[in-house]
Amino acid sequence: MPRKDDPAPARGGRSAKPKPATRADSPADASADAPATRQKPPATRIVAIGASAGGLEALELFFDAMRADSGVAFVIVQHLSPDFRSVMDELLARRTRMSIRAVTTGTAVEPNVIYLRPAQQTLIIQQGVFVLKQEDKKTHLNFPIDAFLKSLARDQKDRAIAVILSGTGTDGTLGAAAIRDAGGIVLAQDPTTARFDSMPRSLIERNLASASAPPNALPRLLLRVLSGEAPPFAEEASEHSWSVDPERQIIQLLQRRCGADFGYYKKSTVGRRIRRRAEMAHLDDLAAYVEKLKQEPEEIDLLSKDLLIGVTSFFRDADAFSALSEKALPKIMAAMSPRRPVRVWVPGCATGEEAYSIAILLKEYARKERMELNAKVFATDIFGPALERAGRGVYDDSIVKALGPDLVERYFDANGSQYQVKPGLRRFVVFSPHNLLKDPPFTRMDLVSCRNLLIYFDDIAQRMVLMLFHFALDRNGILFLGPSEAISELADEFGVIDQQWRIFRKLRDVRLRESFRLLPSPSLRDDPALHHEPRSPVIAVAAAKARSAPAQRGLTKAYDAILDRFAPAGVLVSRDGTIFHVFGDAHRYLSVREGRFSNLITGVAIEDLRHTIGAGLERMRGYNTVPFVRQVRCRLAGEDEKAFKVTVERLNGSDWQDEDYCMVTFAEVAPPKKVGRRARAVEAEIESVEAVELYRERIRDLENELRATEENLQATIEEMETTNEELQATNEELMSTNEELQSTNEELNSVNEELLTVSAEHQRKIDELVEVTLDMNHLLKSTDIGVIYLDHDLRVRRLTPAIADTFNLLEQDIGRPIEHITARFHQPELFSWIKDVLAGGPACEHEISTSDRAFLLRILPYQLGGETAGVVIALIDITRRKNAEIQLRASETRLSTIVETAVDAIVVVDERGIVQSFNTSAERIFGYAAAEAIGSNVSILMPKALGRAHDDYISAYLRTGVGKVIGTGREVEGRRKDGALVHLDLALTEWSVEGRRYFTGIMRDITGRKEREQHIRLIMRELSHRTKNVLSVVQAMAWQTSRTTSDSEGFQERLSRRIDGLGRSIDLLVRREWEGVDLEELVRDQLSPFFDDAGSHLVLTGPPLTLKPNGAQDLGLVLHELATNASKYGSLSVPTGRVVVGWTVTAAPVALFQMSWREEGGPRIAVPTHAGFGGTVIKDMLAKAHKAVVGMDFPPEGLVWRLELEAHRIVRDVPEPEQRTARP
């Protein structure tokens, strides 16, 4: 080893040869006292402490117990979060006077200093100097404890010491191995005391720990190590063996988690329930179950719930409650007054049924006696969740069976199948958490009802709890227990009211015990967390018994035998003389006397010994440990006087801790010589004769001295008596003051208890309120609806961020009056609206709008106890809704206008065929008012036959989706209200809204069009007939013309003229719709082609006359032929000629139509020599067809043609004969 090159340690002028120095120092350290360190500064021993999760607690305990001047340097290596500022230095500073420093590189180790590793840095030590390295971020796992321990092992070799405390994982294990390899010492925290035991357990399992102990015991071990003692330390190891009985471990776990000490519960019950839970978890090994409990705290909760929840119900054992009501309540209630409530304590109330039962019992009693109930029922339980349920007071309907409908009705509010205790009953009951075995009791109770709880406790706890109840009760207070529970030992303190139902009365006020706190049960006794618990002697003895009982019973018996045989009779007493135990035949030295019993040895020892023992005990006061031994002569019952040796001895031992006990032993002193009775008598006689004189002289001296002393004494006594009287008076005053204080104190105590329970309730309420407030804040923050809460003065109390859209409001405006805030919309009435609501008006809604948005403003009263205490303004953005509404309305108006003004009927039916809408045109076409049609089946608009089929048609369509009509137009027949059929052009469309289908039919009335079409068809046919007739006539004309004309030109000329004439007749007929032709018109028309100015050439005389169509055609043809002849040969062939046409209809019996044609002013004529077609027409045609008489004369001045026929053949109707002259 190149020692020269070793850098010198920074401090202490330490040798560069650590090894020899260590050896030399070890004995100095061994004394573990300051003088050693004063002599020469030894190389500082370095103790590395590795801790992780749960380590702080262990560190605190460790340093609490570690002296500050040990000369050791501590290096704490913890797992630290990189983001978390450790306050370890501050925390530890409260526990130790050693200075605490953070390590920096180059720091040299100093004694009595605690070094802390900074976060994110790897700490190692080299040659007694700290070195820090940045942690390698690339590797996910860092093992700072291992790193430091390894460097420590290298640096300090066998002087290295490591302490591994609570923590998860296995960091430290490898480092510990390195230290052990180097010959160093490794101490581990006892895993059962570690909050997280994985780190220390890992060491122990690998046999790396030199020793293990609870953290507060580790310093002691450490000092022993420093003093050179090498582990293992047998007694420590065995005392803190980490492998313990699993049931005990479970009880420790339960205690730590929920505070209940199940060590005092009946072992069989607890064991059974633990095993049941283990079985439910499919673990048959309790050790495995312990592991499960350690990993799953919830399982501990479930187990504790299993253990704590008992069976309970309302008025369990109804007879017991009636006995209570009849035998105990009258007295309790009689003492009740408005200032003095009845006080009841229900410990172990579980889910509250018993407590409410008692409250109901009291209420019922008060109701019957017409009293105002003033009571407080304190219901307590250790199990929080049960209390919570009890506090809610909600039960299922099984209570109806237990309580009967009357009580349920009176004390519960039904809510479905649930029943909640009414506030009127609830307010009498106060629930609060309370551990019967640990917490101080309630006091001044009139009644303690504790049914079926004691049965779960073991004997010690039962006795203790009963004493506690005794203490809690007022004199004459009632104790109400379960049917199988007894008061056993306290039978003297309680009077029996009802033996069957276990109702007892407290007889007298006496304090049975000083403390009602139980020690941790034996199962928890070595749980270091509980070590500071004080022990009371009784329990200590009992516990000692309990601890040793099973294993050492045999041994104890042997001891007893030995004691009986060899030990002197003795009595174990406290220093004030209270007897705890009597050994051997000590009873011989004791006698019980009449009068009040005393358990003081000075009260029960026989007369002759009393003073000696008293003197002995007196001597033992203070710190005297020398036994007091006196020889006394006395006479035991039924025996001669003998000499006895009385020894009073103080006992000290770990079991007794700081309390001192004394042992009083008696031993018979054997007579000095063994001689015969006679010899002894003679000897005595001689002795007495010799001594008598001596005695007498001595007596005289003594009597003189006595007299002087008596006188002295008398004076002193008188003095004393005066002083005593004064003291007496003072004492009495003090006593009364004390009593007053006592009672005040008790009152304060009870008030305090009540306050505590009330405060617990308030705390719960506060928690609820906090939760509700958080919920509400989140709601307010996240909602899009702008909300403002205003108080009665219109100040802003709360608002949501969304309100900023419309009011210029921000969080900081809370508290300002709303009137100071400007809104982004102009609404002068806003404040009057708000004030109306505030004045008690109803909630109101208004629509308001800013330039580009619309809002629904809702103002609601904020009700508080029926009063309007403010208003809530909600602003809901309805811009989109509003726009949509406007668009919708516009579109609706547009459509409805179209529908209403449409010429076509528009009818909407639903899928059952029921008419939904019916427009004006539909009303007009069908004759139904819209109101009549809407709601009727559409078949009313159809011909009967079609209507019947319509429903089937619709349903078939809806079923199959196959329809012929949808989407296509077609002609159909409709039925009007009056039954008339109308022709309709129907277009049908289908649409659906919200899954319901509708059909719109658009129908146009085409009846008129149909009629016109019919008419046209008729006219066309008629036209065809007429045409054919006219063609027949033309054909006849052609035939006739061709017969009488030889040349084609003449034929053409004549035929066309005749057709022209025919055309004129037809024109006239058409003009009069083929009904007939006015005769005068016919004449003028037929003659018009033959002259330009008819006025001067034509004279017409005759009445107005209408000819039948055929007659008009026939006569027209005749007139045409006459005019043709006249224009060729007669008067119309010269400009001066004229024609006179006259006609008349003669009167009945047979009306005759007479007509004449006379030509005047023409050339002279002669009788024609041959007759052509014209002649035939003129002369024969009418004669043949109409049986007419035709006359023709040919005077030279012009042709005269006459016609006479029965008027009806050609005349439509015969008018009154009326002479008429054609106008010139």
């Binding site: 065809s1024 006849a1036 035939t1176 027409v1177 045609m1181 043949k1184």
Partner: protein, 125 residues
């Protein structure tokens, strides 16, 4: 057109148009027939049909406001053959009563009339 297809037959002509009546009269005469009528009024036609000796008849169906059916029925009762001649009716639109009766469509040619009547008289119309 002077033939003797209707020589010796008495033919009743019912026709309300005078020119047509005159023309048909001429045509039938030229075919050798003796003409009864022509007549244009229904009651006169019925009278002739019921009383005159007639071989056959040519009946215009529309007579002013009447139709010629009563005349046809009288003729049918008398087993006198007849031929309808009409611009209104054709074989298809003739009332069912007259199913199978010969009918000429107006305008009919002279030859058609003569042939139709001759055929009716022969009993093959």
């Amino acid at each position: 057109m002077n033939d003797d297809a209707l020589q010796g037959f008495r033919i009743l002509i019912v026709e309300d148009n005078a020119l047509l009546a005159l023309t048909v009269d001429s045509i039938l005469r030229s075919a050798g027939a003796d003409v009864v009528g022509p007549v244009g009024l229904l009651d006169e036609a019925e009278q002739l049909a019921a009383s005159e000796p007639i071989t056959a008849a040519l009946l215009d169906i529309k007579l002013n406001d009447d139709e010629v059916w009563p005349v046809a029925r009288i003729l049918a009762v008398r087993r006198i053959p007849f031929v309808f001649c009409s611009g209104h009716f054709d074989r298809g639109s003739l009332p069912a009563e007259w199913d199978g009766c010969p009918i000429l469509a107006k305008p009919a040619r002279a030859r058609q009339m003569i042939d139709a009547l001759a055929a009716a008289i022969r009993g093959t119309g």
